[in-house]
Amino acid sequence: MTEYKGKHMNLFKDLSDLDYLRLNKLQALIYDLFKAIRAIPKWFLNIFVSVVKYIRKFFTYIKEEFVDIYTTFIYGDWKTRISFFVMGFGSIARGQVLRGLLFLIFEVVFIVYMCFGGLHWLSKFRTLGDTYATTVYDPDLDTYVRVDGDDSFKIMLYSLLTIIFIISFIWTWRINVRQNRIMEDILKSGKKIRTPKEDMQSLLDDQFHKTLLAVPLTGIMAFTVFPIIFMILVAFTNYDAAHDGYSNLFTWVGMTNFNALFSMNVGSDNLSFAFGEILSWTLIWAFFATFTNYFLGMFVAIMINKKGIKLKKLWRGILVLTSAVPQFVSLLYISKMFANNGLANGLLMELGFIKDISQLIRFWGVTDIARAMVIIVNVWIGIPYAMLICTGILMNIPKDLYESSQIDGASVFQQYTRITLPYMLFVTGPYLLTSFIGNINNFNVIYLLTGGGPGNPALLTSGGGAGDTDLLITWLFNLTTGAESKYYLAAVIGIMIFVVVSSISVVVYNIMPSTRNEEDYS
């Protein structure tokens, strides 16, 4: 056995479990790495296969829908057939008056809207308007007055609403057709159709989810889904302060904005450079912000949890206090505390560490110091939360694990590395991921501490004045609120943040050991 030194290890073949266990740590690592690399093509294949499967499923679904609609029409009775054109007719004719009327009203509203607005907006959607606002001389007022032209923003907004309206109409129409079929089936089998009262009652029982979700989902549709779709469209336009849609039209520019972001040209107005700089700092920041908090938080939690430490509640309370104070108070205060003429420098001068103004530590003025500072201050902000999370899990680690390892002869340090840490990492995998993503989008810490600074001359023109501690999210904010208001660029960056976040999530979810099953807890 001892002769086995992995000479026969073939990196391109799977080892049996027993052979794998014979490998030493390094060999195992190399083997695992190769195995992971070998798995990549299969991984992509799987993605491809599942995408194809979904597309096929989608088309079969569409096909089945059409077949179903067709058979409903062919085999349906006259009430059903009329319902194809007058929505809700079948329901009214079969006694479900209220439901039928709702269908009918929806159809009427839809037709009226399409005639008196919808079609108008849709017709301009391709160009986003062609009539510019002008001024003409008004003899009555003896001055030039503005004559409104098209408004690109409104065209886009209403067109999108119209498209959503059309889709929901088609969907409702489909429900209307299906309802007819279901009612026919029920009547054929000799059962009774539900009365309106029973319908209402079922909304509190077997259809309860519809009742509960109605308001939250409407809110999400209106305030998240719709704006996101809108902003994805904006990313393909030249919408900014100069082209605000009202005084000057904006229009479709295709992939131009994305091309600018990925262009390899070296130039003063090189957006791809700025994006690369800011993205890499964002990722570095997120990494450090997440893991410093996590490990230090765990460290503090372990200290407080140790047997024999008194006043546990007090220590915890002191730390939790910082999460109670609204972040803007603590962050703004600390920001000023470390300003050039702030308390920190003042105290250093008072104590004689700094002799004169030239020696002042410019905490926020030097790139490296500023970057280190935001991470340090973030530790101050973030440890309490991480500590609470870790405390909860630490208390859940079965005590007998420690007792049995103690009997097996493990030292305190070994207990930490062999039991506590693996357990924590296993359980907190999802938390680490959310926390990492949260840090990518951590607006408050950066904006309130440094405001993105210190400014980076290289990014002055290319990045719209972005600084060295700017994250994608603060950059996005500045682009939107700044004088130029490059909405199109903000939209592109928003999409890029999504791409970054989603790819990280996909990768992490695939390698994370704790595949959580929600049913496990019930």
């Binding site: 939250p216 209106a222 109670a324 008072e350």
Partner: protein, 287 residues
């Protein structure tokens, strides 16, 4: 034997002493900024930043100025109104969403959760550009920011259902089933069984929802759009010290404002800390 035993005890005492030392240092570091903040808020001799902590002249000047010279009261009122509405509406939204996803099984449930997961990966702020236009069209920005902000905070708040769903998932499903067999409708299951059992998570949700608006800066600044009367405390106080000259003039006043915001929130928070801790340690990991 006894010697070794003594050694063990001594070692333990030493390591505990070491831990106490660290904990004390940590506590000092964590409390230091707040201590300074409070001290500076009572400083009367100067309004700019200085290099010492204890004021040479104590007094309430900054607090008085805050109410007489700035719109602090308006900001405070705005934030409070927003926080109250948000805590009520958001709690209802989040709890219904998480209850539905945890307890009810219906077609499209998994799909819905996936869609919300994907939506959550977009930075929330990009929705603001179009929302701002729409809200300003409705007259809900600038001076009227309060209802606008309430809408912005609460409308999609159901997407933050993870923590409370994690909690609901831990409530045994056989309780639902037992209640349904005992004759309860799903609605009665919710009101008579799940709600009473979910007190910690309900308080947690209310607490976090209430505290959110006090700390929000990004949305509030964008919606208020430099209109003093529409700001919340965060934007208003930041506005006080946003330029070098205003910083010199208003610094201690800002400190006073910070204290006035932090104290009630902290008291509220500490009194409900038990539920917060329960929510974080219970739900967050499972979420």
């Amino acid at each position: 034997m006894t010697k070794k035993h003594m050694g063990q005890k001594l070692k333990n005492r030493l390591s505990n002493g070491f831990i106490y030392a660290i904990l004390i240092v940590v506590s000092v570091i964590w409390l230091f900024p707040f201590f300074c903040l409070v001290c500076e808020s009572f400083r009367c001799e100067s309004s700019h930043q200085v290099g010492y902590i204890l004021p040479r002249q104590w007094g309430f000047d900054n607090y008085i100025n805050l109410f007489t010279k700035t719109a602090f009261l308006t900001w405070y009122k705005n934030t409070f109104i927003i926080a109250v509405f948000v805590s009520v509406i958001q709690t209802l939204m989040v709890l219904t969403m998480s209850y539905t996803l945890s307890r009810l099984r219906f077609k499209g449930r998994k799909g819905l959760m996936n869609i919300m997961l994907v939506l959550g990966m977009f930075p929330g702020f990009i929705t603001m550009i179009v929302l701002y236009k729409i809200l300003s069209g409705m007259g809900l920005t600038g001076a009227n920011s309060v209802p606008g902000l309430i809408l912005v905070y609460t409308a999609s708040s159901a997407m933050g259902y993870y923590v409370s769903k994690g909690f609901f998932d831990t409530v045994s499903r056989s309780l639902d089933e037992a209640a349904r067999i005992d004759g309860a409708t799903r609605f009665q299951v919710l009101t008579k069984i799940i709600m009473p059992l979910s007190k910690p998570i309900i308080i947690y949700t209310i607490l976090t929802a209430f505290m959110g608006p006090w700390g929000d800066f990004m949305f509030a600044k964008y919606i208020a759009h430099n209109t003093t009367s529409g700001m919340n405390v965060a934007v208003g106080l930041q506005n006080l010290i946003s330029t070098p000259s205003s910083l010199t003039a208003n610094y201690t006043m800002f400190c006073a404002g910070g204290v006035l915001v932090a104290v009630p929130i902290t008291i509220l928070f500490m009194s409900l800390q038990r539920y917060y801790v329960e929510g974080v340690t219970g739900g967050a990991v499972k979420g």
